[in-house]
Symmetry: D2
Amino acid sequence: MQDIKIAMIGGGFMGKAHSLAYSAMPMFFWPAPARPVKHVVVDATEDLARTAADRYGWNSSSSSWEAVINDPEVDLVDIATPNNLHAEIAIAAAEAGKHVICEKPLAPTSAEALQMLEAVERAGVVSAVAFNYRRTPAVALAKKYIDEGAIGRILNFRGTYLQDWSADPDSPLSWRFQKKIAGSGAVGDIGSHVVDIARYLVGEISAVNSITSTYITERPLQTSGFDALGGASKSDGPRGAVDVDDEAISLVRFHNGAVGSIEATRNAWGRNNFITFEIHGTEGSIFFNYENRDELQVAFKSDPADRRGFRTVYTGPNTPYGEALWPIPALGIGYGETKIIEAHDVIKAIVDGSRVRPDFADGYAAALVDDAILESGQSGEWVKIPTRDGGDV
Amino acid sequence: MQDIKIAMIGGGFMGKAHSLAYSAMPMFFWPAPARPVKHVVVDATEDLARTAADRYGWNSSSSSWEAVINDPEVDLVDIATPNNLHAEIAIAAAEAGKHVICEKPLAPTSAEALQMLEAVERAGVVSAVAFNYRRTPAVALAKKYIDEGAIGRILNFRGTYLQDWSADPDSPLSWRFQKKIAGSGAVGDIGSHVVDIARYLVGEISAVNSITSTYITERPLQTSGFDALGGASKSDGPRGAVDVDDEAISLVRFHNGAVGSIEATRNAWGRNNFITFEIHGTEGSIFFNYENRDELQVAFKSDPADRRGFRTVYTGPNTPYGEALWPIPALGIGYGETKIIEAHDVIKAIVDGSRVRPDFADGYAAALVDDAILESGQSGEWVKIPTRDGGDV
Amino acid sequence: MQDIKIAMIGGGFMGKAHSLAYSAMPMFFWPAPARPVKHVVVDATEDLARTAADRYGWNSSSSSWEAVINDPEVDLVDIATPNNLHAEIAIAAAEAGKHVICEKPLAPTSAEALQMLEAVERAGVVSAVAFNYRRTPAVALAKKYIDEGAIGRILNFRGTYLQDWSADPDSPLSWRFQKKIAGSGAVGDIGSHVVDIARYLVGEISAVNSITSTYITERPLQTSGFDALGGASKSDGPRGAVDVDDEAISLVRFHNGAVGSIEATRNAWGRNNFITFEIHGTEGSIFFNYENRDELQVAFKSDPADRRGFRTVYTGPNTPYGEALWPIPALGIGYGETKIIEAHDVIKAIVDGSRVRPDFADGYAAALVDDAILESGQSGEWVKIPTRDGGDV
Amino acid sequence: MQDIKIAMIGGGFMGKAHSLAYSAMPMFFWPAPARPVKHVVVDATEDLARTAADRYGWNSSSSSWEAVINDPEVDLVDIATPNNLHAEIAIAAAEAGKHVICEKPLAPTSAEALQMLEAVERAGVVSAVAFNYRRTPAVALAKKYIDEGAIGRILNFRGTYLQDWSADPDSPLSWRFQKKIAGSGAVGDIGSHVVDIARYLVGEISAVNSITSTYITERPLQTSGFDALGGASKSDGPRGAVDVDDEAISLVRFHNGAVGSIEATRNAWGRNNFITFEIHGTEGSIFFNYENRDELQVAFKSDPADRRGFRTVYTGPNTPYGEALWPIPALGIGYGETKIIEAHDVIKAIVDGSRVRPDFADGYAAALVDDAILESGQSGEWVKIPTRDGGDV
């Protein structure tokens, strides 16, 4: 079996998730398309990198991402850094001829995302953006239903991503609240996942009309932890300004005529990882809530009137990716599984020389929507999503 | 105990619900503010009216609403007709010095609603509009929480009203699909309830930005049944044009700074009477789904981190209207209870000489929002909600 | 339309529910089988009775149940008193030639229940026992599915009735905790409903094996309120002994080979009116929870593997009793509706001269099971349910 | 960091889960107590073993479990074979001085389980039985609540494990339906998990009273796949007899006075991995359903009456094992996480020289309960659970 040697840039929470995925992928998908080799991990300092290597099982470590992307042994560069570093690393990696997988959002702005896309295209390498939630088995099952015509023509879509880890005004001003690093707030961080799911299930978005709000305008300066989520390190020390959105609600229009809404906020007490979508079609409806991610709800017009209603279908051996996962429905799909599937699909594309979705083109398309949401939030007007060559969809 | 003699105009499904309410009110609220007397019911023909009187227990019947509103014995006129008759009857009733309760939406257009409002004001009579869902005990409990500050300052609101009874293109072209009778489609018929709930819980809406769609542009002409809902009388005969909206999704801005969205459609397979709202505040969140109407979900920031989450609170003796209703939570709140409470509150206002909410001023305010949703659906722009004297909020 | 003149004995919470039912029945079921006339209500004193008549809309009142059951105008005697009065009143009413509906459980013991059954049989009158929950539309839909064979041969049944109104040791020692009045605790008060549902849906129970417990062995003596449920009148005054069960869990065997369990307790914090059942058959499964009573969940083996799962079906026009109730599913079934249907079915039986179910034979059968549960809770052994003539099933 | 070298016996689904756990453990728990080294994997043939090693990332492979347990480099033997091989391997491993983790149930009978227990005690090695579900974070949170007294004294417990993979009579006669290999059917396979959870949360079980049933008495002989679950390989070929239970329902009494019930069946259409428990205490209640395993529901008596109800608490950083897992509640706990925690706890015990729970003593205790359930299912009488030295609890 072929080896695919990986350099991972970033040893935080996402580094953990990706490391798990590479180790577990052949256990789940067998025969595996290739063997992922955890070749080298990069973190901000030598110490951090060495610890990451020890902890996550990488063969070596480095504090220089520049060095590792020029390591001739490396096949795939995996970027799991804060958003503002994505473009520089990804472009350099592509120019070094490496395949690239990059965490989401692809970049703080669509302009940078475009540069990244152009770089991988020039280089002819495989690219991927880590919108992992579309690989939740139940989301893939929704896609299968739609492709089979089970709910008919799609009329509308409403998607949400609600969390509460930033609802506390005393939670720290991490990089996720700083525009210069993150690019945006809820829109890019979590809203982009919903945009990706919308594009995956319904199609291209043509225009948006948004409200954006910043609920908590200053937060305590962060004194520890690079990637803290939530209230881990509350402080009554000095505060700094938040310059990103806490909330975005958008109307959306799809190219195929469907309409809908997308909402994202990290200030929703009681919601944790509340990624939901509801889709109504001419022949049925679909509902999904990631908090109960083993299940998909689907209603069919064709059921007899006295037996019609949402069915709660648990994903398992008979649904997408099922054979590779667990032998019984509801045995338990976790976050890891979405990343294991992602790793599989990316490595398979590298081996096959095929395109994997979502790739940098998808990441760029999502970034265009994110930018439009932010712009509409400012202007109060419908913003059309441009096509890549500058026209409107 | 004082008698309040009632003339009810309309003997359809709503006539049944209102009749139940008048009979049951003193059973639930005791001592009752007054005794509702089911004096006379009016329907389109003498036969229909006589049947309604027999069935619903009214003392007499008539086919002339003009006659009964001039009956000096009548204290309260109850209008349960299709929307296009509301204004004429209500204005005449007010001019005859009668108190008036009118089914929702108050009128097909805000212009008519304003005339109705002015009429009751001139006459100095009690007016009420039958947005019954705000009287669901769990909705009243949400109001109580908000008034107590339990969820802090409200940040946002998203409300839906989803049904599926018009999702079938073969369901008949009832009056509810005809603009000249209904005024609008989903917006007035069901969206207006969500507008009322939003105003009740959050406050005045200042502006909206909407998408409106008509999914099914023609339907079979109706050959029977005045007020058919759903597929009761499917037909393959001739079809007529639908000239109202099947779907409306709106961004909303509230006067107090809160933001949100409102959606209404009767084309959502699998949803039946899916009136939901979710409200996030600085100190907590609330979620409600009418399909499980005995319960309200509420999350509090102040709970310890390892015991925080949405609480499912069942309404009962310890929650609003509880003493009057059933002695154990979840014994079962039905549609009737919302109407029984409504009847109580209206009759109490008549006796007290006080204002009941929602009244025609509320009905007019909701109609202004409905009109703005429809206008924005056409223009694609934010539409401000005018104040009554013509300015913007 | 024929009149059926009713004498109702008892003006508490159940009196309210029954009064509502009689008033509303023709509104829902039209043409009605007959017109229920609220002829006379009886309560413990003249004052209480007069108030009940005023409040619940009865034509007259009395403090003598003996007098009213001998009133030649009375057709139907409705017994809504504490359990220990059921037998005496019912037997006298039957002997006076009156039809009888009696609240559940039919009597404190099966011996008394048998006397009541024999009395109505001797008299040839219609009898009914008010196990209203089997008339929840979703429960009737479960029965329809089973009768249609939709879930195949029934393998097992587990039913629960969980409440929490007696979980507080400071809630008062009402009659419901006194064996001499109530006969038993959770078993008769609420478990009997589950026994009735089990018999309705699955068939006759042949044997039980039980644990019974009394969690709170003394409670404050009650100083007010005849029929208080829950903590309405907490007290730190003197306490008295509880001599009934707080909890019963039973294994059950059905005559047709199905097995299962039944549990009842009023000490389950967080459960309010949690009547649930789950039934597995060879072709599918059914789940019901009264707290969400508008819906029934059903799963079918015959669904394709990737579309199989519990369907959430909302009752409405297309399900049992649907035409009579509300025109849209999930508009809202409350406690009242179960009683309105019950009133209809009883009055129809009187008019038709037919048998209504559940009748005193059913009430007796349930009482035999209740007694067996209590006996097994003492003996720790399987107790067979005797047949009426003394043999075992 | 110390190495713990592992020999895993069995390369099926459980081998996959355990392999994942060993690879991922240090990624989650850092610093790890030791580094698990996947030293050697054993399967029935050299080919199968080599494939398992390749797939699951083991350093070597073997078809002789006898050989590997005598390999002096091996520290820990992990037994993931069918039940009938557990005892022989575990005893030999203990005698070779190896620590042992064994899949559940510990053995087909309590007699064998006792031999295993005695063997590890004699050898003084760490033992563990893989009742992984008690390590679901939400179950551990339930334990924490109980230990903190949050729900007061426990009154009762009812637990279920319902699946549907054997509901189809055409699913094959795998080893799980053969007494000589599996020992029992639903009781040992899945009911034992509920027994373990009951013992973990409530305490020792003193007696049981059961119904056991075999619904499908013959199944197609299996022609492929050693460990098939469900209908994967349906067949119309020859059939063989099922000699184990399909269903068991038990009353249970705990040593501390609590009562309850336990049910297990793999014939429940629509249930997939429906491990649930509900516990009522004097101060509150807990409900858990593994199908929605990220959440625990808890109700507290101490909440104000108008804010009381089940709270839905999502496990995350603030709940047990939280720091080690994912940084946001509901990010997604899967089956793997339960095994990763298990691997951690076992290896930590080896390093610390401490006892891990559940160990072989717990496995034996559960086996005693399983045997008692089966015995009571035959005798129809209460069966006391003996203590280890032969007395009754």
